[in-house]
């Protein structure tokens, strides 16, 4: 019953999307406000409809209706409630429905308030968002339907079907297969929705860019309107990527967080172009430059979003993420081709309109630095693209599939990331349209000298490795310059308004949320860089089989194996937990409990590392194996990961900064803002 209603709702949503597209295009061409308004309402209704369909699927999942194929494949009766709900995005069908729902949610949020000043853009925005929704709904309805059930025919063959075929009986398995045990982690429960919100959110700036192209609007209105949505999409995409890394760190038990797995890389690609877009659109808003570039970037980003969704969902690439290959591959390729070609044709048609005077002045002006920043982001993106496509191309050319592993990405993209950090450090001190590097040099020398202290101290204290030192220095330089610029502004501001520096800092930050939100995001990125350098350059590891009360030594820690307990849980797991005592400088500082869980239903083991995490380092212990008589010994793999916690802390800082930048500026404070601008 629920499924039939759900299916009916999907059919209605599909029809409504088609209607919305037709009305919107008609309204857009004839400039008929009535038609546009009708299409707006049609588009708005998709979100409630899809919400109901999604709720239907959730009800099926939490009530353990295993006669439904999707419920059978992704859930089981023993799973806790939150995992049953998370099963919505645990499989192909559900996640595509979830995608549609998010997409309609974003267009709902954009269109709910009538925008009278840009009414010419609205019909095209509706047409684009509805078209994308339509494509995904089409996939859900005709290829990946989550509402299929099991039936058995007279021969005892099991049939999957939406409606009961003739001469069959409904079949109900008494237990589902359950969610893959590896995915039963809070990071993995939250990671897909975050990533999907990030992915789908880019539809709004994309739709507005297309609308602006169609209408031939050369102003930057589309960027201003969609800034909020771009930031939201970007921050969710960032959170999604980091959560995925965190999950890998916590669950996969190999002591790392990022493997340059093709699917990870394909999710990183829209982030790279999206981040480039976030920067270059500032150039257009402040200086009216990069107009072609911005449109191209958002088109590229959205196509990469679709490509990323497709690659995760299709099994085209060999990866831990892959689901089995399905027939939707050609459809996805077709869809991406349509989006790309149509967008490119539009862009070509409006190319001359978008011409802008690019007078960058010096290499060291802010315009140039934005340009470099963008070129580097694009270079890293191209490196990722080369890495992903290399197996396919090499097979075409040589008949031999050649893949590239993480070393390729690290070697090729690593130096560019360092360069990005360097530019990030310099940018706050640069000026728009300056003619030479002199003014930048005048501003930079103080924080530059201070920043040199860090590598000096590190070298004296015995840290070696030029690349690591260089990386740490660049991180520290960007922290120094950002703080320097901030402190300098505060001092000026407080002197001018004759208030205390403390009050001044709060007021100035709140009044320039965009600028200082950006600063905080940059600090967050620098901290993340610190964490990444820590684990990439200074990770050490060891492994050993130890008897009870024997020890392993690593990086000044002594780990002693105290025993192992094996227990059966009520939800179908066998859990082996080791007791490991950690001693440093003769003091016991922690007891770690690395574990290994075995899931009977899915016949799969899952490693749960024991981690002691501090600001300085992580001690990461994996229980690899044990002897039948557990006191005789157990095997551990131990990793020492310096500074990695800063990766997670930096993410929090980044999210905070983005939220600050997102908050609309209060109109009452405008007077004060203008004062602060004087300071800038």
């Amino acid at each position: 019953m629920i499924a039939n209603i759900g299916f009916g709702l999907l059919i209605i949503s599909l029809t409504v999307s088609v209607v919305a597209i037709i009305l919107a295009i008609y309204g857009g061409v004839t400039k008929s406000a009535v038609m546009v308004e009708s299409s707006r309402r049609a588009s708005l209704i998709t979100f409630p409809l899809l919400s109901l369909a999604l709720i239907g699927l959730i009800i099926l999942l939490i009530t353990d209706r295993f006669e439904y194929v999707y419920v059978y494949q992704t859930s089981d009766a023993l799973m806790p409630l939150y995992l049953k709900i998370a099963a919505v995005w645990g499989g192909q069908e559900g996640s595509l429905l979830f995608w549609c729902w998010l997409l309609s949610g974003f267009s709902f949020a954009t269109l709910i308030k009538k925008d009278k000043t840009n009414s010419d853009l609205i019909p095209w925005v509706i047409a684009v968002t509805s078209f994308v929704t339509l494509f995904f709904l089409y996939l859900v309805l005709f290829f990946e339907n989550p509402f299929f059930r099991f039936f058995v025919d007279m021969q005892g063959e099991v049939i999957k079907s939406l409606f009961q075929p003739l001469y069959t009986l409904q079949a109900t398995p008494d237990q589902g297969l359950g969610m893959n045990p590896l995915l039963r982690h809070i990071g993995m429960v939250v990671h897909p929705p975050m990533l999907y919100i990030g992915f789908t959110g880019f539809v709004i700036p994309y739709a507005y860019a297309i609308a602006a192209l169609i209408e031939g609007r050369i102003d930057s209105e589309w960027i201003k309107i969609t800034r909020k949505w771009t930031l939201i999409a970007w921050v969710f995409l960032t959170i999604g990527l980091v959560l995925g890394s965190r999950w890998a760190y916590d669950v996969l038990g190999w002591g790392g967080y990022w493997a340059w797995d093709p699917v990870e890389t394909s999710a990183l690609m829209p982030w790279l172009t999206g981040t480039a877009f976030l920067h270059s659109n500032t150039g257009q808003q402040k200086r009216g430059i990069f107009k072609h570039w911005n449109v191209s970037l958002i088109i590229l980003t959205f196509c990469l979003v679709i490509l990323g969704t497709f690659l995760t969902r299709s099994g085209m690439l060999s990866s831990v993420h892959a689901f089995s290959e399905s027939e939707i591959a050609p459809l996805f390729f077709g869809f991406i081709a349509i989006m790309l070609i149509a967008s490119a044709v539009l862009l070509g048609w409006r190319w001359n309109l978008l011409r802008s005077d690019f007078s960058t002045g010096s290499f060291f002006s802010r315009e140039s630095l934005y340009l470099f920043n963008n070129l580097i982001f694009i270079s890293i993106f191209l490196i990722c693209l080369v890495g992903i496509l290399f197996p396919i191309f090499s097979e075409l050319v040589t008949g031999q599939q050649i893949t590239v592993g993480p070393p390729f990405y690290e070697k090729a993209a690593g130096p560019l990331f360092a360069l990005l950090l360097l530019i990030m450090g310099v940018v706050p001190l640069s000026g728009w349209s300056v003619k030479s590097g002199k003014s930048l040099g005048r501003q930079l020398w103080k924080p530059f000298l201070v920043s040199l202290l860090l590598p000096l101290v590190l070298i004296i204290s015995g840290v070696r490795g030029w690349f690591a030192l260089l990386g740490l220095w660049v991180v520290f330089l960007s922290v120094c310059t950002t703080l320097y610029d901030y402190a300098r502004s505060i001092i000026l501001h407080s002197k001018r308004l004759k208030i205390s520096p403390w009050r001044s800092s709060v007021r100035m930050t709140l009044n320039n949320r965009r600028r200082y939100g950006g600063y905080i995001v940059h600090l967050g990125v620098a901290l993340m860089g610190l964490g990444i350098i820590g684990i990439e350059f200074f990770q050490t590891q060891t492994q050993a089989l130890v008897r009870q009360d024997e020890s392993i030594e690593i990086a000044g820690y002594t780990l002693t194996y105290r025993g192992l307990t094996i227990e059966e849980t009520t939800d179908g797991r066998e859990v082996a937990v080791a007791d490991v005592q950690v001693v440093k400088d003769g003091r016991e500082i922690a007891a770690l409990h690395p574990a290994r869980e075995y899931f009977y239903v899915s016949d799969q083991a899952v490693t749960r590392p024991g981690v002691r995490s501090t600001l300085a380092d992580d001690l990461y212990v994996v229980l690899a194996d044990w002897l039948p008589v557990t006191s005789e010994g157990a095997t551990f793999k131990v990793y020492h990961n310096p500074l990695v916690k800063w990766l997670w802390i930096g993410t929090f800082v980044l999210v905070f900064g983005t939220l600050l930048a997102l908050f609309p500026t209060d109109a009452r404070r405008v007077k004060d803002t203008s004062l602060a601008k004087g300071v800038e």
């Binding site: 893959n180 038990g253 099994g315 599939q401 390729f408």
Partner: protein, 187 residues
């Protein structure tokens, strides 16, 4: 000295009989060139970076069949995909040495689809004694997903003893979560 300087300056300014417009244009041209050169230098640097990084990390993707028949040559960086034979898995917890056997499966996705999907191909390859097999040795933890009929993607090199020494294991169990039908259903 000072005078000379001024004189030479005057000379220079005399030599340039450009109008304001021309100067502007040439400045603009110079600027455009400057950025063009900058862009070219950067593109070259990136290409160089990609090429040098590719050299060190290219891995040849082979099937077990190709590996056994000597297609690997002297390549030390090979990626091979096969199906794990469950009975062959041995783990020595003292040295953390894992050894198992993988059997050949086709590398081409379309071929796999035509043969009835990955799960089926894996199953058939694992039970068929005529399919080419190769022994694999790996040092490290025993991966959670290593079990009978899992697809293993191994990275490493072929030893002279005909054993594949893997540096990295990637395992997939496709059958369990997709394309699966319950064994027993209750009408």
């Amino acid at each position: 000295m000072f005078c000379q300087n001024i004189i030479s300056r005057i000379k220079v300014s005399n030599r340039n009989h450009m109008t304001d417009q021309e100067t502007k244009k040439s400045v603009k041209k110079f600027k455009a060139n400057k950025f063009l050169i900058g862009g070219v230098v950067m593109a070259a640097a990136v290409i160089l970076l990609v090429v040098t990084s590719l050299k060190g990390s290219a891995q040849y993707y082979l099937t077990v069949d190709e590996l056994v028949s000597g297609a690997a040559g002297r390549n030390t960086n090979i990626r091979v995909s096969g199906v794990v034979i469950g009975d062959s898995i041995q783990y020595d917890p003292y040295s953390l040495t894992l050894s198992f056997t993988v059997a050949n499966i086709p590398a081409d996705n379309q071929e796999i689809e035509a043969a009835g999907g990955l799960a089926r191909v894996l199953h058939e390859a694992a039970v068929d004694p005529d399919v080419k097999r190769i022994n694999v040795v790996y040092h490290g933890e025993r991966p959670d997903l290593l079990k009978d009929e899992a697809q293993a993607i191994l990275t490493g090199s072929l030893g002279e003893d005909g054993v594949f020494y893997a540096d990295e294991l990637l395992l997939k169990c496709p059958s369990r979560y997709e394309e699966s039908v319950p064994d027993q259903v209750q009408p």
